[in-house]
Amino acid sequence: MIDFEFDEEQQLIRETVTSFAAERVRPAAREADETATVAESLVDAAWELGLIQGSVPEAYGGYASQAPSAVTGALIAEGLAEGDLAIALHLLSPRLVVDPVLVLGTEQQKQDLLPAYLGERFVPGSAAVLEPHINFHFTRMRTTARRDGGGWVLDGDKCMVPLAKAAPWIVVYAADDSGALAAFVVPSGTPGLEIGEREKMLGLHALELYSIALRGCRVPDSARLPGDAAKLLRRARVAQSAMAVGVAKATLDYAIGYAKERDVFGVKVGQKQAIAFMLADMATETDAARLLNWEAAWNLDQGNEAAREVALAHRYCADMVMTVTDNGLQVLGGHGFIRDHPSEMWVRNGRGFATFEGIASI
């Protein structure tokens, strides 16, 4: 039956992630943004939480008792992103390899690749999805994978590839000879995989993002993950949408706090209907988006294709987070424009959700 209550495990994960985000991630967010780095100590601390390990079955070195759940993944993604989006993406980057391998990979691929991600320390993962042109859509990649003998040759340009320099593997998405979307696990150092300069963006300053060029990059047949790659990118959309909800939630709470402190016309800013109703709307929209995305996640967990549900939730969350973060800045007036407050950073990070594709995974 329809029920919105968390089960015990979900409740536990949520509390763990939320308090880590509040105590460790948020305090580090502005400095991470200004210095464009994520502190090693923070990465180590997050690794101890076991957020990656908990999604991998014991057989491959993790301690999950079941297949990775999109709903649980959404809870983790939202919670961490409420702390900081760039840091959340960095901390969860191993999933960019782990999740595709688990969901799309063969038994052999799982055994070959997963244990490397389940050691004592964090190992960065990466995925190359986005392309630097205006008409990008994940169902119609321009990057191609051409059959060549017993392997594949990859050609194309990708951008916003997270942690591409440090990651031992990058999962590259491309259209194969039939035009179908395919995923390839490409080891770093593969000839023809050229990692470009670190990219500077509107937001996500703390996250290392690179453009990469694939120039006749040859990989063996075993590099291709045989499952339906579109399914993976739908899971990624759900994770991203959950992060949008997290950013919106952060914005809302900060704006509420400000509105209750700041005076205007002899009362608090929050006592003015224009601001109060704006906050009410932000709260409603954040909740609505979260529910819509949970439903999409739940559908994925049921094994449904959920193309429609994911598309609806993705679009809704992307629009919602832009409106909410923009209004969140507006509540602060001039102070919102100043980098002392996090609001402007949330606008910059929030603006990306309509663009981000595959930089988060569940």
């Binding site: 039956m1 968390f6 809302l252 509420i256 009410a280 609505a288 529910l291």
Partner: protein, 408 residues
């Protein structure tokens, strides 16, 4: 977390859907055009069904006591979404205890429940109604000026009530009742506002006006004049003492019934908007237009995007509504969520039905299709049981932790 429909939900939806399709849709346009007439065949059929259902329930046939979590509120919302999908005006006209009954259920004594609800489904069709609003106020319900004075074994009521849904059928067309809000002492504010059960046939109670409305025309909306209307002393809901707010039977207690009625209003609006969206997509399908959900902005047409947005908005409103119900069924405080559902649904169903009319072009604007009617019916969702603005106030107070004095 679970997004699947229970067997009970599926059953309830199927039953309501059948009534909507077979009883409501066929007469929907007629009773929109013929305002202020009564679809007695429909009333009688629904009444018999409710009777049978009430008897079955009283015999214990439909108990759900063995379940961990109740889904009573949820099931009510799902049922009402279907009925309003059939016709929102007719749904509001179904003979039942209505909002008046909800108030008795929420704050009445066992004796009152027995007296007014226990044998409600006996005899001919009856209606219950609620009368709150007065000519000089809309949302600010602490302004109640209708007075109740105790004289011997009776309360004497004087005043004028407007916008009373089903008041005509409750008082003039049946042996129903209206729950009337009145003040014992205007100088004492909210705490002195009480509600009183006024039965049909009470001398001094007159329906003085039937409103001509934009939509939901099958439903009657009336003005009731109370001129020294005398009712028994034990027809007061809750205590006659002027007590602190929050106590049962006080203003706060009655206001709390909104926590269950607002999701229901949301659900009814969602039913109307869903009807419109279904017809639009059906017409599009006939033209060979399918919605490509995973297309990008340089491929997707405006039409496809609009449909996609409407589907997302409608589902978002529905999930907020279900959430508010789920919380109520779990015994959790849900005022904020109930207002979120109502506010969101009010906006969404207004926009969706308006947009469907637009996208269907001249067909949408014509009374040959139902889209234009659904647009007129949907708008009330954003108005009654607390306007958009009132619900925004409640949400804002809740998230900011403000009292009604601090934020109004």
């Amino acid at each position: 977390m679970d997004f699947s429909l229970s067997k009970a939900a599926q059953g309830r939806i199927a039953m309501a859907r059948m009534a909507a399709e077979s009883l409501m849709r066929p007469i929907s346009r007629q009773y929109d055009e013929e305002e202020h007439t009564d679809p007695w065949d429909f009333f009688n059929t629904m009444w018999e069904a409710s009777k049978a259902n009430a008897e079955a329930t009283s015999l214990g046939g439909k108990k759900s006591g063995d379940k961990k979590v109740s889904e009573n509120t949820l099931l009510a919302c799902m049922q009402i979404e279907e009925l309003a999908w059939g016709d929102a005006g007719l749904y509001l006209s179904i003979p039942n205890p209505g909002l008046g009954g909800a108030a008795v259920q929420a704050v009445g004594t066992p004796e009152q429940k027995q007296r007014f609800l226990g044998s409600f489904y006996k005899g001919k069709p009856k209606w219950g109604a609620m009368a709150i609003t007065e000519p000089h106020f809309g949302s600010d319900s602490k302004q109640v000026a209708t007075t109740a004075v105790r004289e011997g074994d009776e309360w004497v009521l004087n005043g004028t009530k407007i916008f009373c849904t089903a008041g005509h059928r409750a008082l003039n067309e049946s042996d129903g009742f209206v729950v009337v809000w009145a003040t014992l002492d205007r100088s004492k504010g909210r705490a002195a506002i009480k509600s009183f059960i006024v039965p049909a046939g009470t001398p001094g109670v007159t329906v003085t006006r039937l409103e001509d409305k934009m939509g939901i025309r099958a439903s009657d909306t009336v003005t009731i004049t109370l001129d020294n209307a005398r009712i028994p002393a034990d027809n007061i809901l809750g205590t006659a003492e002027i007590v602190e707010k929050g106590s049962t039977g006080s203003f706060g207690g009655v206001m709390a019934t909104f926590d269950s009625t607002r999701p229901i209003v949301a659900a009814s609006g969602i039913g109307v908007a869903r009807a419109a969206l279904e017809v639009l997509t059906q017409v599009l399908a006939e033209q060979g237009i399918a919605i490509r959900y995973e297309a990008g902005p340089s491929e997707q047409t405006v039409l496809e995007r609009e449909v996609m947005n409407m589907e997302a908005q409608l589902q978002a409103a529905r999930l907020l509504t279900w959430k508010a119900c789920n919380m109520m069924d779990r015994g959790q405080r849900n005022s904020r969520e109930a207002s979120m559902a109502k506010a969101k649904a009010g906006t969404v169903v207004t926009r969706v039905t308006q947009k469907c009319v637009e996208l269907a072009g001249a067909l949408g604007y014509s009374r040959k299709m139902m889209l234009e009617k659904w647009m007129r019916d949907a708008k009330i969702t954003d108005i009654y049981e607390g306007t958009q603005q009132i619900n925004q106030l409640i949400i804002a107070r809740s998230i900011l932790g403000y009292s009604s004095g601090e934020l109004n």
